[in-house]
Assembly symmetry: C2
C-alpha cells in the first residue's frame, strides 16, 4: 500500500518511511506487471517493424506513436524484423510473451502485406501499410485490422500541379526503379496530373538514393530538349538532382525547378536551395495509429473497428521551384 501510495491514513508517516527506505535499499521497484493483474493491462504496446525503428527514414512516425502512447501512460516495446532470424510469427510471440496490450505493425516504407495472426483479444493496427499484395489492397472486411496509409497518389498530383501552375511544360519525374506501392502511386498521380494538362508525361526510372538522382539528372540535362522541372520521388533523389544541375552550370530554381517528396527531417530544409517538397504525414500516421490502437485496448465492449485512414501529403513550399527560364 505504501509503495502504491494507497495508505489512506492507515500507516503512520514513520512506518511509511521505513517501508520506502527498505524498498530503496533492496532495489525494489513496483512491478507494472503485478499492478496490471488488477487492471488486466500491462500498459505496454508492442511495435513490430520492418526496420522502421532504427532506420533513418520513418523515425518521426515511431516518435509520434511513442509520444501518443506516453501521453496515455503506455510504453512501446519494439521487435525489429530486420534482426537476423526474427520472423513475423516469432515477433508476435516474443511480444505476446511480454503481455503487451496491443500490437502495432509499422512499415518503414509504405507497403502491403498479409497481416500477422495475433492472440485472440490482442488488438492490431497497421501503420504505413495495409493488407494486400503488390498488385492491390485486400478487400476490407469486419475482421480487417485498422490501417493508416499516406495518400501518395494525391501527393504526386499536388507536386505536378505546382510545377504546371508556374508554367513548366517540360516536366520529368525521377521515379524509383522498383515496383513498390509508393513508387507506383506517385508515378500514377504524376502521370494523371500531367496528362490532364494536355502534356505527354515523362517518367525516368532512376532509383531512391542521392547518386541515382545525380546520374539521371546529368543524363537528362545532356539531351537536346532538357526538362525545365523535375519531380523527384524522394528528397534524397532531389538532392542529387540539384547537385548535378550545379555541376552542369545550372542554377536551381532559375534554370531548373526541383520538387521532392518526404520532407525528410534535417534534410529538405537544409539543402541549398531549401527544397520545395511533398510531406509524408509521418507524425499524423504515428499518432493516429497509436490512438486507434489504444482506443481498442481500453474499450470494454467490442465495437466496429475503425477502417482504413488515408492521410494527406501536403505541399511544403520552400525555394526550389520557380517559373521556367525564357526561351
Amino acid at each position: 500500500m505504501v509503495l502504491n501510495g494507497r495508505t489512506r491514513g492507515t500507516v503512520s508517516a514513520a512506518n511509511q518511511k521505513k517501508v520506502l527506505d527498505a524498498a530503496a535499499e533492496l532495489g525494489y521497484t513496483r512491478s507494472a506487471v503485478a499492478m496490471s493483474l488488477r487492471e488486466r493491462r500491462t500498459r505496454t504496446i508492442g511495435l513490430i517493424s520492418d526496420e522502421i525503428a532504427t532506420s533513418p527514414w520513418a523515425g518521426r512516425m515511431v516518435r509520434a506513436a511513442s509520444m501518443a502512447a506516453a501521453e496515455r501512460g503506455y510504453m512501446m516495446i519494439t521487435a525489429d524484423l530486420s534482426l537476423p532470424e526474427l520472423t513475423l510469427e516469432e515477433a508476435v510471440k516474443v511480444l505476446s510473451e511480454r503481455q503487451v496490450d496491443g500490437l502495432l505493425y509499422g512499415a518503414m516504407g509504405r507497403t502491403r502485406l498479409a497481416a500477422p495472426g495475433v492472440p485472440a483479444g490482442t488488438p492490431l493496427v497497421l501503420m504505413n501499410c495495409e493488407e494486400g499484395d503488390q498488385s492491390a489492397p485486400a478487400p476490407r472486411t469486419e475482421h480487417s485490422p485498422p490501417a493508416v496509409i499516406p495518400d501518395d497518389r494525391q501527393g504526386a498530383r499536388r507536386a505536378a500541379r505546382r510545377l504546371l501552375d508556374v508554367g513548366h511544360r517540360r516536366v520529368v519525374m525521377l521515379s524509383g526503379d522498383d515496383t513498390a506501392v509508393a513508387t507506383r502511386e506517385r508515378e500514377e498521380g504524376f502521370v494523371e496530373e500531367v496528362a490532364a494538362a494536355g502534356l505527354a508525361p515523362r517518367v525516368v526510372r532512376a532509383g531512391w538514393q542521392m547518386d541515382d538522382g545525380y546520374r539521371a539528372t546529368t543524363a537528362l540535362l545532356a539531351q537536346d530538349e532538357p526538362p525545365t522541372a523535375l519531380f523527384c520521388i524522394r528528397d534524397r533523389v532531389a538532392a542529387g538532382a540539384i547537385h548535378a544541375a550545379a555541376v552542369a552550370g545550372l542554377a536551381v530554381p532559375q534554370d531548373l525547378s526541383v520538387i521532392g517528396y518526404d520532407d525528410e527531417d534535417f534534410f529538405a530544409e537544409v539543402l541549398t536551395p531549401p527544397l520545395t517538397t511533398i510531406a509524408l504525414p509521418h507524425e499524423e500516421m504515428g499518432r493516429h495509429a497509436m490512438d486507434t490502437l489504444l482506443d481498442l485496448v481500453e474499450r470494454s465492449a467490442p465495437a466496429p473497428a475503425p477502417g482504413l485512414t488515408v492521410a494527406e501529403c501536403p505541399l511544403v513550399e520552400r525555394a526550389s521551384v520557380a517559373a521556367p527560364p525564357r526561351g
Copy 2:
C-alpha cells in the same frame, strides 16, 4: 508443461493438442514475466536514450545493441528522453516497473552526463557517453558504470593525416558551432596533427548541417588563398561543401579535396563523388555496450566491472580526396 514444451512423456499427444487448441482459442500466450519468476529474469533490457532511438543519426548503434540482445534471448524496451515531460528519473522508473534486467543509457551524439541513479542490483552501461561534464570526464571509480565512447580525437588526426599525406598544405576544418565533446575532440585532433606537420591549423566554426557546410565553403572559396582541402566535422557538412564547390565551378577532388566524419548510412557512399570519411564505430559501440551489460546481468557473483572502452574511428577511403591542384 505443455505450453512450455516440458511434457517429458507424461502427457499424451492427444491431450497436448487439446491444451494447445484451448490456449489458442482463449488467446493465451506464455508469460515471459511468469516464466521469469523461476529464473528471476525477464530477459528484457531497458534502453534510455536522448532521442537516439528515433533519430536518423545513431540508428545503427541501437540496431547493433538490439541484435546483440536478440542473439542472447533478450529484448529491448526504449524510453526516449525527447518525449515531453519524461525526465531521466522518470525513465528509470517506468523501465524498472517493467522489471528490466539491466539498463543501457545511449546518447545520440557523444556526450558526458551524470549517470542516473538505478535500483540496487540493476546493472547500467553507458553507450556513446561517459560520466562527467562538458569540461572533463569524471574520475573513474569502482562504482563507475561501464561506458563505451568513440575515439574522436584520433579519428580527426587520421583525417588530417590523410590530407597532409597527399600533399595538401592549405587545409581548413569546418567544425561545429558548439562546445560538444565531439566538436572539441575532433578540433583538438585536427589541430594537433596539422601543427605537428609544421603548419598553422585553420578551424572555421560552421555548424553541423548541410547548409552550414555550403555557406562556410562558399565564403572560403571567395578568399584570396582558398583551401585546397577541407576536413568536415560531419558527412552532412561535407555534402554542403561539395555542393558549394560545384556552384563555384570547382570539381571534387581535382580542385578541392573533402573528407567527412561519421560514414553515415545511405549518405556518405551515395554522394557524388562518394565521400572519403572517418567512420563512427556505431555497430561496435552498440554491440559492446549490450554484451557488457548482459555479462553483468548474467553473472551470479559480483566481479570488477569493466571500465571505459574507447572505440577506434577508422578511415573509409572513397573518392573525394586527391593531391592538391598544381600552381
